[in-house]
């Protein structure tokens, strides 16, 4: 019994600590005011790999999402502070007020939108499957059969997609992001991998014996997200995407980063 009491005491302490961290969340009326006042835009990002967000060969953080945010801060007239988190740390970073919003290639869905407010999509990204060239697959449906295995980033939206599309295929979820899945395909641990077309195109350069299978099973919307009560910031971001879409700057960035390996020369 004494041990049980001890454990419940420990649990109680943990809960108190959590409660405190909940209470200490910043409670400003309008975060845009704060951003202008402090002269700094704080953005939570993750390093999920090229071409969306990565550290290039010069040691500089760059990628499609990062360049969009850099442009944003410049147009706001404030400094940019990028806070690098693991995927698991992104949501707490935003909810605790450490970051003003998160800029990742996150896909909104009905349940996620209960927790965070997502912007209108700034880009739609095709999902593709890739495999080694020696495999007999032509289109992605060819892998969708019993006896084959598909590697996927653990916990990504593509897991649910695969379970729905290919219920008979063995699905192997790898922690460690897209590169880990590509590595598994290269080591013959999975017959094919699934990822967005831009990442897959990156692997084609790295692994010359890979091919992208025909067809795209899905097109995901990519959004930034912030706390549910930041209406002004959300409107600002939506407005900003509209502006850079209209003046062609968003298209230019997307062409450079997301639609081919051009960026590989510079980064």
């Amino acid at each position: 019994m004494r041990r049980v009491k001890k454990i419940s005491k420990l649990l109680g302490l943990g809960l108190c600590a959590l409660g405190l961290s909940v209470l200490s969340q910043s409670a400003s009326a309008d975060v845009l005011n704060d951003i202008v006042k402090r002269g700094e835009l704080r953005v939570a990002v993750q390093t999920q790999g090229p071409p969306v967000s990565f550290v290039d060969k010069n040691g500089e953080r760059t990628g499609f999402a990062i360049e969009v945010v850099k442009m944003m801060a410049k147009d706001m007239g404030v400094e940019l502070k990028l806070l690098d988190y693991d995927w698991k740390g992104l949501i707490p970073a935003v909810n605790s007020g450490k970051a003003d919003f998160l800029a990742a290639d996150m896909t909104p869905n009905a349940k996620r939108t209960l927790v965070l407010s997502f912007t209108e999509p700034y880009l739609y990204s095709d999902v593709v499957l890739y495999s080694k060239k020696k495999q007999p697959f032509q289109k992605w449906q060819d892998v969708c059969k019993k006896g084959f295995s598909i590697g996927v980033v653990q916990g990504s939206s593509n897991v649910g997609l695969l379970k729905k599309l290919c219920p008979d295929t063995t699905i192997k979820e790898f922690a460690g992001g897209g590169p880990a899945v590509a590595q598994a395909v290269a080591a013959d641990r999975a017959d094919a991998g699934i990822n967005d077309i831009a990442s897959a195109a990156g692997y084609m350069v790295e692994y010359t014996d890979f091919k992208i299978l025909d067809g795209a099973p899905k097109r995901w919307p990519l959004s930034f997200a912030t706390r549910p009560d930041e209406h002004h910031l959300l409107r600002w971001m939506d407005n900003y995407f509209m502006l850079i879409r209209n003046d062609g700057r968003l298209e230019k960035l997307a062409d450079y980063w997301m639609r081919g390996p051009v960026w590989k020369k510079d980064h």
């Binding site: 949501i91 869905n109 916990g155 990504s156 979820e173 598994a184 080591a187």
Partner: protein, 227 residues
């Protein structure tokens, strides 16, 4: 109960109970098998390490050093990605087998040092007594030395087992679904980190508590007073 729902929505967790049950079972099985491997490997390596045959003790020492000086994740990757098809098995190890073996071999190195300390703590008189009633080396180990040694080092072995259980979450890197993966499902589908990871933490605490009870029971039942 509203204040609890604010930072820990148990209604959402309840929807994911099957995932957590699957993850808990998976972690428990992985840990159990890895524990079996690590205790067997640990005992054998500990005895080899104390052997006077240089071939044996040098090999054991090299194994212990190699394991302790490299990260577990690298060991898991090496066994899973680079090990070719095994001649006896006729195929490559799958995710679960590779993960369990890597965990077992890793913990085995640490266990062996603990077990060696236990064996060395048994007084010379015990061994001489066993010899005087005509027990050979295997019998001395089996009936006199090892039972007392294990009873003595049960607490540090339990500590190492707790490390093993927590480390088992690393096998998710080679695609094995376990407890931590169940927590990630809530995070990814619902963006609720508290609900995901607090539940995972409680499940690990649960496994550890069960282990603690088992050790206390085993120590009382098999160990005697130890001296």
């Amino acid at each position: 109960m509203d204040w609890i729902l604010d930072f820990y929505n148990y209604r959402v967790v309840a929807q994911y109970l099957p995932e957590f049950a699957r993850g808990l079972g998976s972690t428990a099985w992985i840990s159990l098998f890895a524990l079996g491997i690590s205790l067997s490997v640990g005992t054998i390596v500990a005895i080899m390490r104390m052997s006077s045959n240089p071939l044996l003790w040098r090999f054991a020492a090299a194994y212990i050093q190699a394991i302790r000086s490299t990260p577990l994740l690298i060991q898991i990757y090496l066994i899973y990605f680079t090990l070719p098809a095994l001649p006896l098995l006729g195929r490559r190890l799958d995710e679960l087998e590779g993960g369990i073996i890597a965990l077992g071999l890793n913990a085995g190195a640490y266990m062996s040092e603990i077990i060696r300390a236990g064996i060395e703590s048994i007084s010379r008189g015990q061994i001489e007594g066993a010899m005087s009633v005509g027990m050979n080396y295997v019998k001395r180990m089996r009936y006199v030395v090892l039972p007392q040694a294990f009873a003595r080092v049960a607490p540090p072995l339990l500590g190492q087992t707790a490390v093993l259980i927590k480390d088992s979450s690393l096998v998710s890197f080679i695609g094995v679904f376990e407890l931590f993966g169940a927590g990630l499902v809530i995070l990814n589908e619902r963006l609720m980190p508290n609900e995901g990871f607090l539940t995972v933490a409680v499940c690990y605490l649960f496994i550890y508590t069960v282990m603690l009870w088992l050790t206390v029971y085993a120590q009382r039942h098999f160990g005697g007073s130890g001296d």
